[in-house]
C-alpha cells in the first residue's frame, strides 16, 4: 500500500510539488468567512441542483405553469368568434361587426362564395355560425326578415345577442329607407344617445388579471416555501445524523455552516421561482391572457420575489434552528410543525378571503405581522388592495424580526447542533453557552 509519491497518478500531479506546497494554505489556514460561506452554499447548491427530485419538480412546475396559461387562453375564449356570410349578403358583414363592437364581443366576419361553402365551413369548425339573410316578410324590401343562422350544434349567448342586434338594426334600417329617411343620419343620432353614470362611492377598479397574478404569485411562494423551508431543516438533520457536522465544526463556525446552508438552498429556491415566473409571465403576456401592461406584470413579479427572499430568510432560519434540535429525520415532523403552520394558515386565509373581499381588513392587518407577511403581502400587492405605507411597514417589521432571528437561530443552532441523541429542549438550546 505504500504507493505514496511513487505511484502513477493520472492527472499530471507529478513534478510540481513545489508549486503545490506554495498554493496550499495561501493564508496559512486562513479562510475568510466569505469563502467559507461560498463553499458551504456551493455544496448545498450543487447537491440540490443535481438531485433527481429537484430536477423533476422544477420540470413539473414549469410544465404546469405553461399548461395552465395555455389552457386559460384556450378556454377563456379571448380569440374572436367566427361568423360566415355569403358573398350575396356581403353588406351584413359591416352590420354584424358594428353590433359586435357595440356589445364588446370579439367577432370576425368571413365571406364565403355561397351558402353551401358556408355550411361546409360550419361543419369543419372553421366558423361558429353562418348567417343568411331571411327573405323579407310581407314583401318589404331589404333585410327586414331577420337572419337565418346555421350552426353546428348551438349558438353561443354572446353571438346570439350580437346577431339579434345586427338583425334588428338591419330591419330598422330597411324600414327607415322604406319611409324615405336616411339610415346613416338616424344611426348617428341613436349612437350619441346614451347613459351617463355618476357613482357617488365608486368601487376601486379590480382587474381580473391582477387578481389572478396575485393569487398565482402567492401560491407559488407558498408551495416553494413549503418545499424548501423543510429542506433546510432536513439538511441540518442530515449533517447531524451522519455526524459530518463534527468534522465541519472543527474547522468552521456554526453560524457559517447555518448561514451557508440557508443561502445555498435559498439560491436554488429563488432560481426555481424565477424560472417559473419568467415562463409564466412571459407566456401570459405573449398569449394576451395576462391583460396588464408588461411593466406592471414585471413589477409585481419583482415585488413578489423580494417578498419571497425576505420570507425564505425568515422561515429558513427558523427551520434551521428547529432542525438542529433533533438528530433523526423521523423526529423532524414535530419540530417543523410550527413553521409549517405559520406558512399554511395565512395562505389558506388569504386564498379563501381575498377573491371575494379583496379589501378585507383582517387580511390587511395580518399581512403586516412578520410571521405572515411574506405569504400575504405578495397576494395583496398583486391584487392591488394595499397602500404603500402598509407594504413598507410590513417590510421593516419583517426585516427587524429577521435580525432578531439571526441571533436567536444562530444561538439555538450553535448550541444544539453538536448535541446528538434525544431532542434538545429549546430552552436548553437558548440557555447553554
Amino acid at each position: 500500500m505504500r504507493a505514496g509519491p511513487a505511484a502513477p497518478v493520472d492527472d499530471g500531479e507529478r513534478g510540481d510539488g513545489g508549486r503545490e506546497a506554495g498554493e496550499r494554505y495561501a493564508g496559512d489556514g486562513e479562510l475568510g468567512a466569505g469563502r467559507v460561506l461560498r463553499l458551504v452554499a456551493g455544496r448545498e447548491i450543487g447537491t440540490r441542483v443535481r438531485s433527481r427530485a429537484f430536477q423533476i419538480t422544477t420540470a413539473l412546475f414549469v410544465v404546469a405553469i405553461a399548461a395552465s396559461v395555455l389552457v386559460l387562453s384556450a378556454v377563456g375564449g379571448s380569440s374572436a368568434q367566427q361568423v360566415a356570410v355569403t358573398a350575396a349578403d356581403g353588406t351584413q358583414a359591416a352590420a354584424i361587426g358594428a353590433a359586435a363592437r357595440s356589445l364588446d364581443v370579439d367577432v370576425e366576419v368571413r365571406t364565403y362564395a355561397d351558402a353551401a361553402a358556408g355550411r361546409r365551413a360550419v361543419l369543419d369548425g372553421d366558423v361558429d355560425a353562418l348567417v343568411l339573410v331571411a327573405p323579407p316578410a310581407g314583401g318589404t324590401e331589404g333585410a327586414g326578415g331577420g337572419y337565418r343562422v346555421v350552426v353546428k350544434k348551438d349558438l353561443g349567448d354572446s353571438l346570439t345577442s350580437v346577431l339579434t342586434v345586427a338583425a334588428r338594426q338591419a330591419a330598422l334600417e330597411g324600414q327607415i329607407s322604406a319611409l324615405g329617411g336616411d339610415p346613416a343620419t338616424v344611426g348617428r343620432a341613436v349612437a350619441t344617445a346614451g347613459v351617463e353614470v355618476t357613482a357617488l362611492r365608486p368601487e376601486p377598479e379590480r382587474d381580473g388579471s391582477r387578481l389572478l397574478l396575485g393569487l398565482v404569485a402567492g401560491g407559488l411562494i407558498y408551495v416553494s416555501l413549503l418545499i424548501f423551508g423543510p429542506a433546510v431543516a432536513q439538511s441540518v438533520i442530515e449533517e447531524k445524523t451522519s455526524r459530518v457536522v463534527e468534522l465541519l465544526l472543527a474547522v468552521i463556525r456554526p453560524w457559517q455552516l447555518m448561514a451557508g446552508k440557508v443561502i445555498g438552498i435559498g439560491v436554488v429556491a429563488l432560481g426555481q421561482l424565477v424560472l417559473i415566473g419568467v415562463v409564466g409571465v412571459g407566456l401570459g403576456l405573449a398569449s394576451g391572457e395576462l391583460d396588464i401592461p408588461a411593466g406592471i406584470a414585471v413589477g409585481s413579479v419583482a415585488l413578489a420575489l423580494l417578498w419571497y427572499l425576505v420570507g425564505f430568510a425568515m422561515y429558513a432560519l427558523m427551520f434551521a434552528a428547529a432542525g438542529a434540535l433533533v438528530s433523526r429525520q423521523e423526529d423532524a415532523g414535530g419540530v417543523v410543525a410550527p413553521m409549517i403552520s405559520a406558512i399554511v394558515i395565512p395562505y389558506m386565509l388569504g386564498f379563501s378571503v381575498l377573491p371575494t373581499s379583496p379589501d378585507s381588513g383582517l387580511i390587511g392587518v395580518l399581512a403586516i405581522i412578520p410571521l405572515f407577511a411574506p405569504i400575504l403581502m405578495p397576494m395583496v400587492i398583486g391584487i392591488g388592495s394595499v397602500a404603500v405605507w402598509q407594504v413598507l411597514l410590513a417590510l421593516v417589521l419583517t426585516l427587524a424580526w429577521i435580525v432578531v432571528l439571526v441571533w436567536l437561530a444562530g444561538r439555538v443552532y450553535g448550541n444544539a447542533v453538536k448535541r446528538s441523541g434525544t431532542r434538545v429542549p429549546i430552552r436548553d438550546a437558548l440557555r447553554a453557552a
Binding site: 500500500m1 504507493a3 505514496g4 489556514g29 486562513e30 479562510l31 463553499l39 472543527a250
Partner: protein, 359 residues
C-alpha cells in the same frame, strides 16, 4: 513550523454533576505516535473533541507550538471523529474536495490531494461513488482520507482501527508511521492494545477523566508489577492463593499467571508448585500493555468502585489482539461493536460509570 508539539494542559470538563475530564494533561511531540487508551467513558473522545474545539473545555488549555489552538490552527489538524462523519449521498471525490477546501486548500491543490490520497488509501476506483454505497471498510478509508487530505500538521484519530479488516489495519498503521516519519504528532485512541503496544512510541492510560499512566511503552511495562508464569498441570485451582504477596492474575491453558507484590518470594511459589506435581515452565515476564491496562482498571475498581472493564461476560469474542489481552479488553470490545448506538457517547459512558457506583 516550530517544534510542532501538541500539549493538552489540565483540561477539565463536566456535564452537570458528572466529571468527564479532570485536569487531563499530556503532550505529543513532533514525530511521535501517541496511543490513548482507557475504558469507555474514561474521557478519550471528550479529550479529542476538546482538542478539535468541537467541545469547549471548562478549564485548561490545548496548545500547539506553545500557542493556544484557534479555529485557524485547527484547520491544520487532521481529525477522525469516533462517530464517523461523511455525507452519505455525496460522491467520494467531491466530498474530499469540499472538506479539503474547508481546511484551507485552494481548489487546484485540493483536487490533487484528493487524487493522491484516494490512490494511496486504495479507494481511487470509488471516487465517483456515493459514500453510502461503499463497504464500511472503504468508508473508513475515505474517512481517513478526509483526515489527511489537507496535509495536516497534527493528527487526532479517535479509534481509527475499529471495524477495519487486517489489510486495512496494515494500511492504517503504515499511514500513521509515515506521518510520524514526516514529523507530525499523531494521537490515536484504540481498544486494540496489542496494536497500540506495537505501534506507539508513548502511551497514555486514562481512567475516569484522568491520565493515570503516561510514558513510553517499555518504561510503563518495566514499572508495572512483574508477572510469573508457572506451568504446573497437576496443581489444583487456587494452589498459589495462600502465598504471601502473590496474586493469581489469570490462566493460559495449564499455565497460571501470578503477580508478585513487593517482597514476594518467587522461590516459595516454585516450592508450592513442585509440591503439587511436575512443573514444566517457570519464568518471569514483564506485563503486557493489556495486563498493565487491566491493573489500572482494576485499581479503579478497588479504589473508586467506578465499575467498568473487568469481570464482565462475553470475554474472548473480540477482534482485539490475541491471547491475554482479550480478557482485559473484553468490555472494550463490546463497546467497539456497538459503535452505532453510542450517541453522545462520552456522556452516556460517564453516566454508566456513575450509575455503576452504588452497585
Amino acid at each position: 513550523m516550530g517544534e510542532g508539539r501538541l500539549e493538552v494542559d489540565a483540561v477539565s470538563k463536566c456535564y452537570g454533576d458528572v466529571v468527564a475530564l479532570d485536569e487531563m494533561s499530556f503532550e505529543v511531540r513532533a514525530g511521535e505516535l501517541f496511543g490513548f487508551v482507557g475504558s469507555n467513558g474514561a474521557g478519550k473522545t471528550t479529550t479529542m473533541r476538546i482538542i478539535l474545539g468541537v467541545l469547549a473545555a471548562d478549564a485548561g488549555q490545548v496548545r500547539y507550538d506553545g500557542a493556544p489552538l484557534t479555529l485557524r490552527t485547527r484547520r491544520r489538524i487532521g481529525y477522525m471523529p469516533e462517530e464517523r462523519g461523511l455525507y452519505p449521498k455525496m460522491k467520494v471525490a467531491e466530498q474530499l474536495h469540499y472538506l479539503a477546501q474547508l481546511h484551507g486548500l485552494g481548489p487546484v491543490a485540493a483536487r490533487r490531494a484528493v487524487a493522491r490520497w484516494t490512490e494511496r488509501l486504495g479507494v481511487a476506483a470509488r471516487r465517483d461513488d456515493e459514500v453510502q454505497k461503499l463497504s464500511l471498510g472503504n468508508q473508513q478509508r475515505v474517512q481517513l482520507a478526509a483526515a489527511l487530505v489537507h496535509d495536516p500538521v497534527v493528527l487526532v484519530l479517535d479509534e481509527p482501527f475499529s471495524g477495519l479488516d487486517p489489510v486495512a489495519v496494515d494500511v492504517m498503521s503504515e499511514v500513521l508511521r509515515d506521518r510520524r516519519a514526516a514529523g507530525v504528532p499523531v494521537v490515536f485512541s484504540s481498544h486494540q492494545l496489542e496494536l497500540v503496544e506495537r505501534l506507539c512510541d508513548r502511551v497514555g492510560i486514562v481512567r475516569a477523566g484522568r491520565m493515570v499512566a503516561c510514558g513510553p511503552v517499555d518504561e510503563l511495562r518495566a514499572g508495572g508489577g512483574g508477572r510469573l508464569v508457572v506451568d504446573a498441570p497437576d496443581a489444583p485451582a487456587g494452589w498459589a492463593d495462600g502465598l504471601a504477596g502473590v496474586r493469581a492474575r489469570g490462566w493460559e491453558g495449564s499455565r497460571t499467571v501470578l503477580e508478585l507484590g513487593p517482597g514476594a518470594d518467587d522461590q516459595a511459589v516454585l516450592r508450592a508448585a513442585l509440591a503439587s506435581g511436575p512443573v514444566r515452565e517457570f519464568r518471569h515476564r514483564r506485563p503486557s500493555l493489556a495486563e498493565l491496562f487491566r491493573d489500572v482498571v482494576s485499581g479503579s475498581d478497588a479504589r473508586g468502585g467506578g465499575g467498568d472493564g473487568q469481570g464482565q461476560g462475553g470475554a474472548g469474542d473480540g477482534d482485539d489482539g490475541g491471547g491475554q489481552s482479550v480478557v482485559a479488553a473484553s468490555a472494550e470490545v463490546v463497546r467497539t461493536e456497538s459503535d452505532a448506538d453510542a450517541a453522545g457517547d462520552d456522556r452516556s459512558g460517564a453516566h454508566v460509570e456513575s450509575a455503576g457506583r452504588p452497585a
